[in-house]
């Protein structure tokens, strides 16, 4: 698509692009240099403010946090996918008593901030004697919230499978349940795989809410480190970079999957 929008630049255009590029890059570099100078003037580049992050104990602590992040994300993703699938099937069901509640759940929950759900689990449930372990204080609200999103992804996938597939399944004598399980769902899952991965990346990012309930995920681990060493800016930069690397790898995986599934289709 993008290649049809413009002609291959000629020698003149190429030269103009090159000059503009060089100027743009120079201007950007100049701005960056100014920013770095100011950053250094505020003492934020001083070696002793970065040195701790060249030592293994700090990294070990952060990697422990990353492990907790991964654990909570994996568990929350698995649970919310399972719940999401049930909700999607409920919303597509012909039975009104299933369709109604599933639709209401999806439509309401997918509009409520996860943070608000975390507060409910944190503040409201203990008042009724239900005090979950820290891990579940984070995983339960994330599951409740992401289940609605996964449900919509699965529903879109199921709806995208041609009716003929279902009809063919029924024609060869499969029950409705078998048709769904053996024919529709496998195809639907493959079609929405990229969306599932990107939703999972979103979920992993949401685990940073763990600091609210003081579950030891990456962001909270960073906060404990800051309380210990007082290096606020440096720690947050390091944390941001870790998230970036981890999530970029996951997104890369998503793209590879997308390419493979579209090549097959």
């Amino acid at each position: 698509m993008s290649t049809v929008l413009f002609d291959e630049p000629g020698p003149r255009a190429k030269r103009r692009i090159r000059i503009a590029t060089v100027l743009g890059v120079l201007a950007t570099l100049a701005l960056a240099a100014l920013a770095v100078r100011q950053f250094a003037a505020n003492g934020q580049l001083a070696a002793e403010r970065w040195q701790p992050y060249a030592t293994w104990p700090m990294w070990r602590y952060l990697l422990d946090g990353l492990w907790s992040t991964a654990l909570s994300a994996v568990v929350a993703a698995a649970l919310s996918m399972a719940l999401g699938l049930l909700l999607a099937l409920g919303r597509l069901s012909s039975k009104r008593w299933l369709r109604g509640p599933a639709t209401v759940y999806i439509e309401v929950v997918r509009t409520i901030p996860a943070l608000l759900l975390v507060y409910v689990v944190l503040f409201a449930l203990p008042k009724y004697g239900l005090d979950l372990p820290l891990f579940w204080k984070l995983v339960v609200p994330l599951t409740v919230s992401n289940a609605a999103a996964f449900a919509e992804i699965f529903r879109a996938g199921i709806l995208s499978i041609e009716r003929g597939q279902t009809e063919a399944g029924l024609a060869v004598g499969l029950t409705r349940g078998q048709t769904l399980r053996m024919i529709v769902l496998p195809q639907a899952a493959r079609r929405v795989l990229p969306s599932i991965v990107s939703q999972s990346v979103g979920l992993l990012k949401d685990t940073s809410l763990g600091f609210i309930v003081s579950y030891g995920e990456l962001f909270y681990s960073g906060k404990v480190l800051v309380a210990y060493n007082g290096l606020l800016i440096q720690t947050y930069i390091v944390i941001a970079l870790i998230y970036l690397v981890v999530n970029a790898s996951l997104s890369k995986l998503a793209r590879v999957l997308e390419r493979r599934s579209s090549a097959r289709a």
Binding site: M1, S2, V4, L5, F6, D7, P9, A13, I17, A20, T21, G24, V25, A35, V36, Q38, F39, N42, Q44, E107, V108, R110, T111, I112, P113, A114, L115, L116, Y119, V120, F123, A124, K127, S198, V201, K205, D206, S208, L209, F219, L232, I233, Y236, I237, I239, A240, Y243, L244, N247, A248, S251
Partner: protein
């Protein structure tokens, strides 16, 4: 229930802040999103790379981390904005990455013949994008953009991390005082659901009208 009425002024103020955050960062995200999309389909390699890097970066950072990093970090390089402005800019920049991604898939869904026709008529890159491609692309992405708007509304709840008293933060503060979490948080949750329902209604209308136009 009465706790909601007693604290209506604070909660109402919080709701207004949430709406301001939503509207302002939506506008910012839309403008930035279109720009980034244009960069990603442009003839200049550096711009294409920049556009891609933008989307990659902001889709892979948690908004919460981005908010605190920008809020406390930018003053150290000499740029200090008030909390509200910082929240709006950060949320706009963050959501623009998702908008750009949605718009790009919209651009890709416009048939190749449209672009060829535009070029054959002698339109420049900018003209064909503005007059032919984007209007059609927008039409196919009304629904995804509606979903992104709901996502944006939800993301404004994190602004409390940098001392903006939005609806969620206001609810938390009222709860700290009154300790009646169910009424307070369910009430605020319903307010979010109502805003989202309004957005859903508008996108639904919009989609129907645009479909007829086609």
């Amino acid at each position: 229930m009465s706790v909601l009425l007693d604290h209506l002024p604070e909660l109402w103020q919080g709701l207004l802040v949430t709406l301001q955050l939503t509207v302002a960062s939506f506008v910012g995200a839309a403008v930035l999103g279109v720009l980034v999309t244009a960069m990603r389909v442009s003839p200049v390699p550096v711009l294409r790379a920049l556009g891609t890097a933008y989307v990659e970066t902001f889709q892979n950072l948690p908004l919460l981390v981005l908010l605190v990093l920008v809020f406390f970090g930018l003053p150290e390089i000499g740029i200090k904005g008030p909390p509200m402005a910082t929240a709006i800019v950060v949320i706009a920049v963050y959501q623009a990455a998702y908008m750009a991604e949605a718009l790009r898939s919209g651009v890709n869904s416009v048939s190749k013949g449209q672009a060829e026709a535009a070029r054959a008529l002698g339109l420049t890159f900018g003209q064909s994008l503005r007059l032919v491609i984007l209007p059609q692309a927008l039409r196919t992405v009304v629904q995804p953009l509606g979903n992104l708007t709901i996502q944006l509304i939800m993301s404004t709840a994190l602004a409390g991390a940098i001392s903006v008293v939005d609806l969620t933060e206001a609810a938390k503060r009222v709860n700290l005082q009154e300790a009646q979490p169910i009424a307070i948080f369910v009430g605020s949750g319903l307010a979010y659901a109502a805003i989202a329902a309004a957005v859903g209604y508008v996108t639904g209308r919009l989609e129907r009208r645009l479909v007829i136009m086609r």
